[in-house]
Symmetry: D3
Subunit: 187 residues, 6 copies
């Protein structure tokens, strides 16, 4: 039986008021506290570092729309077959796009999706960076500029793809389980 | 000619007093401001998120020694052929181990190094997590426990290996250049 | 725009009465005529060959339950990132298991699912056969027998995994689009 | 000792008159009953489904010559290192081309063969479909059209390559042994 | 048309008497001068270095039989899909084993051959060394010792497998063509 | 403890006067006898064959500079993660280029180095030949000619890359240890 959030037994920390408030806000906004936050909550320093980076990348100001950032998250997680991230960010793509089928395609194979040239370039870069980071060369950045991305956009594509390469591996290493609620969201 | 720190043109931000002080402290302690910090400095929120996570992982309290964490950094970066991270963290391994040849081996192939069973288990996990995150199963965590690692140690091994899978990809995506000083350090 | 069932322009054949009846039965039983059948319908000989093999494998008598055969279909299609088969057979796993989340996990990474030893052995064989068919040796069949499978069961596991390695590639080659209905089924 | 046709012990079925006649015809035309047929003969439904699909693909009407279809069979089987299919279809290429050395090259590495642009395009598509089905995109189909193939031809290339990705895996899974006669045929 | 021995235009050297004699001896013993020798003959120093190493490895004193050395040659060349070496050394396996079918299996997939435990261990080592040289560890050598090989035998297995990893790549790089005679030898 | 030069116990041969002289010359010129020579010294025929080929390739007349040949050695060894060759030839690149940082980059990822178009073409060919020898085609040779290389240069690039694919594997198979001196050379 897989009831636990992760495969590790980590003594839960006493949550600070700030963290309790943060979790309450998640509950209110999303209907759940995402399990990834509960997994990190055994240590508030680690939780804070994770959420600061995550919130800046996924919710902060960027030339990429929030949907585009979630599309990167899902395309990368599909390559890495990350159950947690596909469940959580697949739901986000369904929600932000308002198109459940589109969320499914992104989980399964982004190349089957009906994408703009801009989005194809963005995802091909994210996926090459995932599969063969050592083979990224000048021409790969040039292809992004050609597709209309600014240098700041390239930073954001790179950082988002890189972040999920981290996150996928934390989740895989500790068998992090997504909240059941994700599966039914935005269908 | 490759004089720039990255391949991107990002308008430099006005540095806050806190950041200036942080950079001054780096300069004092390490003799340099690591280029990765300068690369992130175009946006202090991103810089802060990066350094908070990095400092907790690499310098914070852990059952892994600082050297062991640097060994994970280098083993992962060797798989991903990340020039920036191998230069910077290869230097750290040389320094912390007091054994320049050991730093070199770790850059080249950790399997050629003379490691304890504990360290082998730690690095084999980190490398499998890098190469095939989707194939991590219960038996992989059991091997770490068998080698004497606690669940909290497993978290730290996983987080460190995962972090460098992120960091390697940010560096690769934007062609981040290490400070020249790394090459000569601790030889 | 991706309205067509495949990327190929193939002159539709005049359907025989038998085929019309078959499609009507699909419509009645499933609520749809699966697009794969419409894709093959340009040539009734090909359609018949495909459905005869498919129906025997997936619906015929076997030591594997229908759910187990669908699990093989999805695990193989997940490795091959086949959009058509993941959409269609992911729905089947949701339906036959009565557990929507289980269907999702199988699409994303079967190793994250809570499986019996028997099912793990079955899927590890199917996936090795998919990824490295040339490396299947005696020990791989022995592992299946060890897990309780008969030689006839091994045939069925092999044939089903092999069939979807075919089917995934036909779908990929011609950009076969699944019926929209699959996405919402059995949620 | 490897005297058996497969590694599985499957109770042989009583052969129907139709199957006996079919095997007699094989014997007469080819001098042998191909072992693949004997392997499937434990269940006539499965045998029929297999031969119907095989005969349509490899012997039916198509814009691809029989030799071209056999070339696809061998190029795919070479990637998958399938002993059965390389033995049987390598012989077919030798026979249909009248050029024993050509059959050998196809088994070893089709890229070493002296092929027309059309045949190169056909085999590069078949091999990409074998190795990376998830990466087939519009441009891959366009390359086939550019090389002179019709949409119906693309179907046939795809179906043939896909079929041998199935067949290779059935053979690998059960250690199917080719008839000894193949080795000496058409030398 | 592929009449040339390689894809390179290299001015032929005036052959020394020693080389002429060596080629005459080849002609007498094998019925041909292997094209690899003609390919290297544009420079006698290179030719000599190649033949000295080759003759020592393949014909010199060793705990491995000549057939076993040829089996390594073919197993490695099969992984690398080297047309030249599979044609030439496939013929050698047929000849030395007196079993044409065995030569074919080795070209196609050594794992399908009926091998002794000793030979399996030898070839699994050779193939791992070919595919993942960086992952060879103590346990791999221990498996060879377990199978009865001396340390000198391990040297010979390693050197032979390594040599064909070189030779396969020279042949691939310059499109070296095997003598037509190989195809018909020892059938 | 790893004091031995290799993991094998091979009875040392009595060295001939010629070999003693050769080793003395190494000592004089390089300050060391490279361990690879001591490893081969158990058998003078093997030692001679190795040094003859090595010296011709790396020190003989060629359109490639000695530095370029060492760059190929290091780029290939980096792909194969060969500790011995990266230590020894990394030192050679540092020495011949007079640029220690350049030697480091080549060990870590040649794509991060600031190379001429000629050198990029040379190394991309060497690395493709290392990773996918079976996929080298006419266009790959054409790219070298386009970059200004003669057919004889192509031979030298191919032979050097191929040689280190051999050498890397001998070293990996027997755990060959580089001389300690390499690490500090030319820093």
């Amino acid at each position: 039986m897989k009831d636990k959030i992760t495969a590790l037994d980590l003594a839960p920390a006493e949550l600070s008021e700030a963290t309790k408030a943060y979790f309450a806000k998640c509950e209110e906004k999303l209907g759940i506290v995402p399990n990834v936050l509960l997994a990190y909550a055994f240590d508030e320093t680690k939780l804070r570092a994770f959420t600061d980076m995550y919130n800046d990348l996924m919710l902060g100001q960027s030339g990429l729309s929030k949907l585009e950032r979630e599309m990167i998250a899902v395309a990368v997680s599909s390559i890495n077959h990350c159950y947690y991230c596909l469940a959580a960010h697949g739901a986000a793509v369904r929600q932000l796009s308002g198109d459940p089928a589109f969320g499914e395609i992104m989980v399964m194979n982004f190349r089957a999706a009906d994408l703009s040239a801009r989005q194809k370039a963005m995802l091909e870069f994210a996926v090459k960076l995932t599969e063969q980071p050592d083979k990224i060369v000048k021409a790969d950045r040039a292809a992004l500029r050609q597709a209309g991305f600014s240098d700041r956009d390239i930073w954001d594509i790179a950082s988002t793809a890189a972040f999920f390469n981290m996150s996928n591996r934390v989740a895989a290493a500790i068998d992090m389980r997504p909240n059941d609620e994700y599966h039914a969201m935005a269908r």
